[in-house]
Symmetry: D2
Subunit: 338 residues, 4 copies
């Protein structure tokens, strides 16, 4: 697809929570026209709510058939990702797809090949890669300030468990939650993981266990270059969304601490109190959600390569699969190639 | 002016740096229609740049004459504020006016009376009042956590001095820079200042002294309730925009520290390095600029009172006048009433 | 042994680095008389250096034979610990013994039974238990502020690897270095560990690998109550002695950060710099070394129970053994009982 | 007085709180013999308490008459300082004298001249100069990291007001409390103060006002080189001993924050809590009290010059006098030379 000018016409496919986040960002972005919102439950009342969008449709094929549409954002439920990817690729659209790229590995591979065949651009929506705080670690690494990498540590805890209904269709903690951390493990270190060992349990809510999932996990990563990594996850941290990463090397350590709600402290007669970490992921990663779209569109414009590729999306799934295996067998599991 | 529905039609008068900041925020704000941009140097090329604005005009009276325009944002140079305020008030428009409300005190009073006579709403643009970090201090105070207030401390240092051309027309450091801190002194404490004592000097750039101004100042405030305050200003801090406030009372202290560029640190063989404070005021107060407009429009909608009034704008000027007097005489100066 | 008054007469057995640390602390402690220093290489020149000590002897049996000596500090090389413990116990002396309590498990058990038979008091020298910062975590836990414990995280990195000569006789990283962290894992959580999984490598110095040891390790702990723990060790952190612990539970998290050399920061044109963590363990744990002796002597005086017992010393060894096993087999290893 | 060897024989004159602090430090210091403790209320029971001191006497002239005594520590009440200084100087003893060096300026001058005539060494006990945290600011300044000095800020607040009996004999807040900050203003900047302006009040306890003193003060310093300084004092901060200093210059800022009781934080469901600043000055400045004596004795040994001289003691008093004058007149007061 040749880029004629800077303006890009897009369609959003799927308008649940994350679709709305992207809609907000697209609306305030220069040089972007949202020509379609596609959602199977859309009705006429949506015309008021999204008055800057020309077409609100229930069938995304309408958007794909419009030659003016250059790029699509796929925000439908995960199990539908592969089919929409295939359709969009065959229609020649550049694709931004939410994570994870799918549940069923065979379907994912089909979608991957469809994208390769069509030669369209494809970005996976791992928003945390675009967080300025974490990027600073990568900067330090690339700059050589850390020397030889040795230990990666990721703390990733949600403020609250999702609804039980969500848990049941989430693909499990590794596919839904840790998958972000698996991607960050690769992004932060620039290295591939060789094997994974998981110790986990149900500590937050017994119902999660009854649904066949766990809610607390400590994952050990051994990278192909020999370095070590640790990810600790919990579905519930009462003090908020806990998102810290540390990369330790022979020449130094880079550490990203939580972003607090304010920079104001209170010194009283008993303790000094500061605000908690930002509670909600949309607040914590507000700028990152904006930046990942900016990056995608600049890649569409040909200014740089896609920063988070389809391969990145698949490799994170391979890691989640290995983690699930280790949690089941109690032994370290090899991470498979694509 | 009766509010029929939630949508508000506005005109921006003056389209320099701060006008553009407000334009950006207005553009992403729901229920706001920017019908006019007024600037004496506007030309046809602006139609492309501001494609979502129906009318780009050089004469703001056109916007005032349009009965659909409900509110105006006054972003013209300070010396022109009073005249535009008077015109807008007489046209029945609600007014958001940038700080300071004017230079000449008689003109300011005329504008003030015009607003009172017209009965329109008027907000002064002291953006820092809307910063969530500083608001937390006020929350603590109102909540009683600080007990009896005793000492206020404000550190306010710019990353770089403005251009000499700007300095010459700025009204001096107290009217241009410290005026923000004077407003914060009143906002944070909820108290009025009785007298002001200034020690100052030219330490950043001798040219500022040649222009009859100073660039470094230490201002002591004695409040009417007896409590004390200190403001330290510099036109240049190499490490960035330094914006800290501390309120100390009989039961505790609230302290707002600088907001850093990232939450990432680097531990090397010599020191631990963290990022500097955000360098640019538009970055540091990005959210505050948005919130002050939201607050203004909600006041226009009748949802709450104006948060930062014309009186607030005038009282800050009275403080700046007293500071200038003290810097000249070397003695403490009484702060005059409106 | 009956305590007549508050004064306690002690002998120090072994006068290498750690013996000297204890000597310094004993010298400034009220109600303590150091009657003997015993070291096989002691000579007459030591009388000047330790002028406040009546007897400098090469054979520790002299001190044990003196009925005035109530307590001994065992600071000889680890392989000699069991024999000296047995001799001291049979002489009826209360014993403070450096960690680890021994290398050979059978010898350790013999010493343990000798102590039980003699009925003397015995303290193991895990100094970190007496650090005020870490104690605060335990306070929070006991106070119920953390709720149900879920995840323990210990970061423990040395500023520099020991000499290769030391490495060869150290018993390996788990027996020499991680043993402190194993003890802290039990102390901080109040829980026993069920199994251990280790991923490790040689990243700091290939010579350590040639000596059959590793220098970097990531150890996963599964506690008997189901909670999880992670310890990461490195023999070399260029930024100093890295000693952090975090305990996460259903109601909150307690986190001990490093103690920095000073509380002074420097804001320059590029970054904000703070001082590094204290570099040397004797500096970092200066107060803890003092407090562990105070605690021991108060236990000798009958004021409270021994805080860190022989059993604590043995359990840490059991953990080190399991870690070594896991590092060898690549599988999780059960921790054996005493 | 010629130094024969490294050992120094000392007498402590005055054994109240600060005398006991020094006694503790001297006792654990190598190469120091405390031969005399002199106090008018000493009795035979003191022999037990200070068993390592040969002579406990009520008349300090006994110690001065002993030719073995090389140095004295003067810890009697402030009004008696000058006479003891004169006696000690005439006896040829090197002198460490607590702050302030006296109350009556004529008496101080007489003592100063007696010391000059005798040619003995004299150190003033401004302990804060020896705090490692504050020294780091001086290091940065001397190193050139701050560029041209511009603004000094000192926050100095006590955790609790002294007893009313103490207040009445303290010489007032400037002579008793701010005098430390005046000395630090000179030490940190390396500059002399030209004039002082004070705004103060009674906010902590009306009884302090009835005794003719104030308990809260904001002091502006103008230095001879034009730079500015601010000191804020309160007799009571509920959160503990608040001791912060900041030096701002053309190339950067150095800032010493409070030293907290522990480095442990607690993240709960409402806030993150850290420990308060160390509450008690003897705890906060424990190491500084030790270091100032070490420095004095090394000066006595001829290893370096006295670090905090008699002149330093007098200049701090000149600043306190100017502050008192300004607080009375409401105008800036010139600082007089010695």
């Amino acid at each position: 697809m040749t880029v004629k000018d800077e303006n890009i016409t897009v369609a959003i496919i799927g308008m649940n929570r994350i679709g709305k986040v992207h809609y907000q960002n697209l609306s305030s972005m220069p040089q972007i026209t949202i020509k379609y919102i596609c959602d199977i439950v859309a009705d006429s009342s949506w015309n008021d709510e999204y008055s800057n969008v020309a077409n609100i449709v229930t069938d995304y094929h309408e958007a794909l058939a419009d030659s003016e549409v250059q790029a699509v954002l796929i925000c439908v439920p995960t199990n539908l990702h592969p089919q929409v990817i295939i359709d969009a690729a065959q229609a020649g659209k550049d694709i931004f797809c939410e994570k994870p790229v799918g549940f069923d590995y065979d379907e994912i591979l089909k979608a991957y090949h469809a994208v390769q065949t069509a030669g369209v651009k494809f970005a996976t929506g791992f928003n945390r890669r675009f967080d300025k705080n974490f990027r600073k670690i990568v900067e330090r690494r690339i700059n050589g300030d850390l020397g030889q990498e040795q230990i990666l540590k990721i703390t990733s805890r949600d403020p609250e468990p999702p609804s039980m209904d969500y848990v049941k269709h989430s693909g499990g903690i590794f596919m839904d939650m840790t998958i972000h951390d698996f991607d960050m493990a690769r992004f932060i270190t620039g290295q591939e993981v060789d094997s994974v060992y998981v110790a986990g349990g149900v500590m937050v809510d017994p119902k999660i266990g009854e649904a066949g999932d766990i809610d607390t996990a400590l994952t050990t990563l051994v990278f192909k270059n020999g370095m070590l990594g640790s990810i600790d996850n919990s579905r519930k941290a009462v003090y908020g969304y806990d998102q810290r990463i540390e990369l330790f090397g022979s020449q130094g350590m880079a550490h990203t601490d939580n972003v607090l709600e304010t920079s104001t402290s209170y010194s009283g007669s008993k303790t000094i109190e500061t605000d908690k970490p930002m509670f909600f992921f949309l607040q914590r990663y507000r700028d990152a959600y904006y930046s990942e779209l900016e990056s995608f569109f600049d890649a569409v414009r040909g200014k740089h390569d896609i920063e988070c590729t389809f391969e990145d999306g698949i490799k994170a799934i391979r890691l989640a699969q290995a983690a699930k295996e280790s949690a089941t067998t109690g032994e370290a599991a090899k991470v498979k190639d694509i």
